[in-house]
């Protein structure tokens, strides 16, 4: 007697199981953006942006008409492009099946009105998802701004008298790129709370000068990028 019979319950169980396997496998592929339309294969939804994704995000945001309108015609600059984990419209029970996609946050600063423009870019669709205005304080300083600040400081008579001929030997450090020359200029971001402070609602940088012997002590140099002014003083004699 045959030990195997295609009784209805067996067929039903097998059919359900195969259907479930097919569904799970298929839906896994659908829910896996890294395997379909993501800019680079093997990039998982929560991995850092690739260089290419960073470039695409900046390009998409900069070209968007609504972003251009928000930035206006005054002085402005791109500050940073960062990874952004966009929350899906609906929650699901299984954390591994959550559709996150690939997004980037692009941050611009406009000097007029001391405003930030925060743009979320969908990297798979190559489209802008949202644009939000932020107060200027919420926008970090960009690496280029420290270069601009140093150029202003280097032309300032007071700074030149405090630092002497040494000033021409300094170079702006790009710490993010691992660039740490011995004679380097670094910067810190200054915030002003009082409207009487010249840096109130301005982009201000405090410059530090570092040489082989260490940081130059007892001298402060403040650069106001909004007003394009420099204040320098000797604090220790």
């Amino acid at each position: 007697m045959s030990a195997f019979r295609f009784v209805p319950s067996t067929i039903a169980a097998a059919t359900i199981t195969i259907a479930a396997v097919t569904f799970v496998t298929f839906s896994t592929n659908l829910a896996s953006p890294s395997e379909s339309a993501a800019p680079q294969e093997k990039v998982q939804p929560l991995d850092p942006l690739t260089n290419e994704e960073t470039r695409v995000a900046a390009q998409v945001a900069s070209a968007d008409p609504k972003v251009k309108a928000a930035l206006g015609s005054g002085r402005q600059r791109l500050i940073q492009v960062e990874f952004f984990a966009q929350k899906p419209a609906q929650a699901v029970g299984d954390p591994d099946r959550l559709e996150i996609g690939r997004h980037a946050s692009v941050l611009f600063y406009r000097y007029t009105g001391d405003q930030g423009i925060h743009v979320v870019v969908d990297l798979r669709q190559r489209a802008v998802v949202s644009i939000t205005r932020l107060e200027g304080r919420a926008v970090p300083l960009g690496v280029e701004e420290i270069g601009e600040a140093f150029n202003l400081a280097a032309r300032n008579e007071r700074v030149r008298s405090l630092l002497g001929s040494e000033i021409s030997g300094y170079r702006v450090a790009n710490l993010a790129e691992g660039d740490r020359p011995e004679n380097r200029v670094e910067g810190l971001r200054v915030v002003a709370t009082s409207p009487k402070d010249p840096c109130y609602r301005h982009r201000c940088i405090y410059l530090l000068f570092h040489s082989r012997e260490g940081y130059l002590a007892g001298t402060t140099v403040n650069v106001d990028l909004t007003a394009q002014t420099v204040r320098a003083e000797r604090t220790i004699r």
Binding site: T17, A20, L46, I79, A85, K87, P95, Y215, T220
Partner: protein, 377 residues
Amino acid sequence: MRLHPQRLALTLVCSFLLFAAAAQTARAQCSSPFLIDQSFPTSGPMQTRWRICWQPMAGNGLVITAAFFQKSPSAPLMRVFWDARVSEIFVPYHTGSPRFLDVGFGFPLIRLNSNDCPAAKGGLILGPGSEVCRELRDRGLAWKDDTRVRRGEEVALWGAIDAANYNYVIEWTFRDDGVILGRVGATAQNLPGVPFEAHMHGPIWRLDIDLNGFTGDSVHIARHIEPSSIFTPQRANDTMSLVAFESGLQWNPLQFTALHIQDANLRNARGHPSAYHLMPIRTGTPRHMEDFTKNDFWVTRFNGSEMAGASLPSFVNFLTPVSNTDVVVWYYGGVHHLVRDEDGQIINGRWVGEAHIMWTGFMMKPHNLFDTTPLFP
């Protein structure tokens, strides 16, 4: 009941296929080296487990982009963080100027070496720029009862922000008992322009806590009240009030103030609502003229564009409900740096010396998450 070999074989094959498909879905949403999947104990059968995704980010340093906890081998992974980061470090000097926003400059993490993160101490350097140290640590006693004892373990991730003259160590620790610790350590060289001036380092953490998923979360503020005199009722009380709308809240050392974050649908097997308690670990309270320093805790509804701690007051709308929704909790702490000779000195116009590391942080402790004592025989 008869066993049919072919039917059994078919069932086994189908079960295997189903298991294989399920296993495929159970992968993490980040890849090595940004994935930490750590089971505890580190030797022997697994009892608890953390699965964490992290990223280095300019300014914020080391950001946790997802954290899941598994409280037992049979329990599902439960989301705790959608995102956790240091959103700002405010550094006002005592004379009133300068006042720095140290995250607001986009400083990177420093490349680490084996002196930072020795393998012999459980260290492993991670990241494309070797900027993060993962340490597996014995954390001392988990519990002790006469001669019975259990030592605990933890996995810590840290990186150091190169904030010009200063370094900020950003550390996230995930313990085998479900506890999370967030710390910032300030170290390196005093500000060269005013190296002898006292100042404060005030980190503001942005904690996007999505307990059991990102919907249905609520926050309560918990206070402990002792009788204030012999004429009042002699019973101490622990109160809990719902934070109904976006707001800032203050920590009171006499009341052991803490925030309780819970999910509407999350209960343990005993039917008790599960929560995480956010508890400060601090030596004082930094208050300054800036509005964002006027509170120690803030609760806001999730908004992906709201990341900067120094803009917190502009994020708060006192009419926006934050009950049973997707919440973000912010915590503000402080290190008071009284300059001391041990920090260093000026030699030939240059600063020579290093301020030893000073820490501030918080603990997030599970409450009624487990069904009974974890790490218990």
